[in-house]
């Protein structure tokens, strides 16, 4: 049986991580709202520790259709991958919302890759940048890459033989209701990164509350 997040992180550290992710995703949602000019509704972040297989399965259960994702890897004290994922059928709608409604379908198809990459870049950088700032660490963030396909295409973070098969899996649903757009932002961290993250969270708690971890 896989360990619960609370085995690796105390309940309070898990609380702090969720709050940290909330700050990051809210910043990303603000950027997306500016791009699509409609409110972006967010769920409360979920943090779990699962195997890669379970993460893929989880993704498959959420979305029965084919997916499109923009992913960016991050490196530094912690390593992982951040993803913006939504059903492939919504891809054109997202691009239309971002670039404006006056373009022809042909123009939108032409712009699709670039617009998706740029949207992902703004969102994921906003999210990761906010989290890194709060942790007092810098992260190197790769260029965005657009991927179409099934869940397993999205989760090739690092070789399982190097880092073990378990990952910290964080996800948050988002929706632009007026555009019938929904998807989610996900983050994956390998287990060695989680151990470093635990120490960074302890320092974050001390800075935020002015006292040692409870």
């Amino acid at each position: 049986m896989e360990p619960l997040p609370s085995v690796v992180l105390s309940e309070f550290e898990l609380d702090a991580l969720t709050e940290l992710v909330n700050l990051g995703v809210s910043s990303a949602a603000f950027s997306l709202r500016e791009m699509v000019r409609e409110e972006v509704v967010l769920s409360v972040p979920k943090v779990t520790i699962v195997t890669r297989e379970e993460a893929i399965k989880n993704l498959g259960e959420r979305e029965a259709t084919k997916l499109v994702g923009v992913h960016q890897n991050f490196e530094g004290d912690i390593n992982g991958r951040a993803l913006l994922i939504f059903p492939e059928t919504k891809s054109i709608e997202l691009v239309r919302a971002v670039v404006g409604g006056n373009l022809s379908l042909e123009d939108i198809f032409e712009l699709e890759q670039e617009a998706l990459a740029e949207t992902g870049n703004v969102l994921l950088n906003g999210c990761l940048g906010t989290i890194a700032n709060q942790l007092g660490r810098s992260l190197r963030i790769s260029l965005p890459e657009v991927v179409y396909g099934e869940g397993h295409e999205f989760f090739k973070v690092t070789s399982p033989s190097q880092t073990g098969d378990r990952v910290l899996f964080i996800y948050i649903n988002f929706a632009v209701r007026k555009r019938d757009l929904q998807g989610y932002i996900a983050m994956l961290l390998d287990m060695p990164s989680l151990m470093v993250l635990k120490q960074l969270i302890v320092s974050f708690i001390e800075r935020t509350t002015g006292s040692a971890s409870v």
Partner: protein, 125 residues
Amino acid sequence: MSRKVLIVDDSKLARMAVMRLLSELRSGWSTEEAANADQALASFKQSPPDFVLLDFNMPGKDGLALAEEFRSLNPAVSVAVISANHQVEVVNRARAAGAAFLPKPLTQKMLGDFLNAAHTSQVDN
């Protein structure tokens, strides 16, 4: 004069951060914490606060719905919705519910400004 503040947030860390700022600004005031809407409403009815500081994004009932409920129970209570989600729609809904909007991470200055303005408005009324 000692006043009472109700702090509502599903995150213990966020409640502690607010408590810290509050103790620095108003050390003699009494505080009550609630981790969800049900706890918050029970506390509000049992011992009405002068100020409520509440999170927007919580499981179950969100902070805006709760702000409206608090204001209908006691229109004189000063409510602030605290959230990292500062999209204009959220800020406007908070204001429409009669609440102030304070962005997260909360600073001492922002909280102090809210308490001063709310206190003035309570005294005037």
